[in-house]
């Protein structure tokens, strides 16, 4: 109960550091979601239409990658981005960009796989209408995605929830640097390690509140069952 009061106090008192950390969390996760959407929605759409063995194999791979462990993604990218690694010259390890890259890798398969399923589940009539109107490829994509918008929105929501609440990649790639790469999840882990469980729990409540609020907001706007 005290933790709830601590959380409320942290929110009400407008603790500047908590807000800054929340902003970093949102910035990193929303950037990753944007990149994953730009790449993942077209990829899922393309895979839904593609025929042949290669497309089937690629679909299986995309579905499989939705289960990538966050800490393994963090570790693999760490080796890539470390100064001794192949991409070390870019000097990106322990920056927000590195965290965005990691979370994009985590979000992309979810967005692509669920878009694929959404498009596949569209009634055949939708495809026929789109084809019969003689629309260009891009327009057809837009029309079909509008048909599948609820399922795609739900895909983005899942992907956001996954990256916004993940710790493994964020802490390995960001390094939990104060004022720079400290996010809600990494600061919760830190406060717990330091022994400040009350603050850890308070920050946890903030993390949960945001995650649930985003979910509820998107759900009521786009995903409510037609009555």
């Amino acid at each position: 109960m005290t933790a709830v009061f601590d959380a409320l106090r942290l929110i009400v008192s407008g603790d500047a550091e908590v807000w800054a950390i929340t902003a970093v969390s949102l910035f990193v996760s929303l950037s990753a979601l944007l990149l994953a959407t730009l790449a993942g929605v077209p990829l899922g759409y393309a895979l839904a239409h593609a025929r042949g063995r290669a497309a089937g194999a690629l679909s299986s791979i995309v579905h499989t990658l939705t289960a990538l462990p966050t800490v393994v993604v963090g570790l693999l990218l760490y080796f890539m981005l470390s100064a001794s690694g192949p991409l070390g010259w870019m000097d990106l390890l322990y920056t927000r960009v590195a965290m965005i890259v990691g979370q994009t890798v985590l979000a992309l398969p979810i967005v692509a796989a669920l878009t694929l399923v959404a498009v596949q589940r569209l009634p055949a009539a939708a495809f026929e209408t789109a084809a019969s109107l003689g629309l260009g490829r891009l327009t057809r994509l837009r029309v079909l995605l509008r048909e599948a918008h609820a399922a795609v929105a739900s895909a983005l929501l899942l992907a956001f929830a996954r990256v916004f609440t993940e710790l493994g990649a964020a802490i390995i790639l960001g390094g939990n640097i104060r004022g720079e790469t400290r996010t809600l999840t990494t600061v919760i882990a830190l406060e717990h390690t330091k022994g400040d469980d009350a603050r850890a729990l308070a920050l946890g409540l903030i993390l949960m509140a945001i995650a649930l609020a985003v979910n509820a907001g998107v759900h009521s706007r786009w995903l409510r069952k037609p009555s």
Partner: protein, 280 residues
């Protein structure tokens, strides 16, 4: 083909432009200097003087060595003489100075079931803990504190049986909390014990053996990125030989000094070097 490569090149350029500027100094530090609040207290002074933005990655000393060896941090602040010597042996050290010291403390339940208070030396204290069958809680995380614990076991020629040993694999604070709730003995730095004094029921039971001196050193490795070397040199010198020493001396936890500046006249350049005594 070129038109396809252009966006890719632009994306790459955008990513590269996100790399931190040379005025950012990334340092790998042991958790105790960060968790104790020392960095937060002294680093802003340097940042104001120099215009350098110091970004600390606080990890166990073992991890910190690895980060610096790979070139992912420009400067090291650690308290693990054996690991620091290994950096010398590998020919990686460009700059090395002792910065400050305090003590390791054998802490435990106030009832002191192993009778450790009367020990003649640190290794005698460890032997008493093993013989009494009391519980010992270990970091088990290759940190500087864990390294010191291992050398104390080696000096004692004894180790607790597995049933009497808990390895937390976590930081000092978490380990102290485990030791407190399980009423076990634990090796800790005095800064972290002081900071957690209100949250744990442990008391400092044995200290005073020179083998328990805890020395902190700053190092710059040859693997560091050249672009950041100027900032790294400035911060290292500020910390070890400049204004930083006074700020370290002024730092307090609950009114108590917990880090002591390196005394003049004592060798600063060798990992094995220790000051003669502890001011009290």
């Amino acid at each position: 083909m070129t038109t396809r490569l252009l966006p890719a090149a632009a994306a790459l350029a955008a990513l590269v432009s996100c790399a931190p500027p040379p005025s950012v100094l990334r340092i790998a530090t042991t958790t105790s200097v960060d968790n104790s609040g020392l960095l937060e207290a002294i680093v802003p002074h340097f940042e104001r003087e120099s215009g350098v933005d110091v970004q600390a990655i606080a990890v166990g000393s073992g991890r910190a060595f690895q980060i610096a060896r790979r070139g992912d941090a420009s400067l090291l602040l650690t308290h693990e003489p054996i690991g620091e010597r290994a950096l010398f042996d590998d020919g990686l050290v460009r700059y090395y100075r002792k910065v400050m010291f305090n003590r390791f403390v054998i802490a435990g339940p106030a009832a002191n079931p192993a009778g450790v208070r009367a020990s003649e030396s640190a290794s005698d204290a460890m032997t008493r803990i093993v013989r009494s069958g009391a519980l010992f809680v270990s970091r088990g995380d290759e940190s500087g504190t864990h390294a010191r614990e291992k050398s104390l076991w080696a000096a004692a020629g004894a180790r607790p049986r597995p049933a009497h040993l808990i390895e937390t694999g976590q930081g000092m604070s978490a380990t102290l909390r485990v030791a407190s709730s399980r009423q076990g003995y634990v090796l800790t730095d005095e800064a972290t014990l002081a900071r957690l004094a209100g949250a744990v029921t442990l008391v400092a039971i044995y200290t005073g053996d020179p083998a328990l001196l805890n020395t902190y050193a700053v190092a710059i490795l040859t693997t560091a990125r050249p672009a950041r070397n100027e900032a790294a040199d400035r911060f290292a010198q500020w910390l070890a030989e400049g204004a930083g020493q006074a700020h370290i001396d002024a730092f307090r936890i609950s009114g108590r000094p917990v880090f002591f500046r390196w005394p003049d006249g004592v060798d600063r350049t060798a990992p094995e070097s220790t000051p003669a005594g502890v001011p009290r």
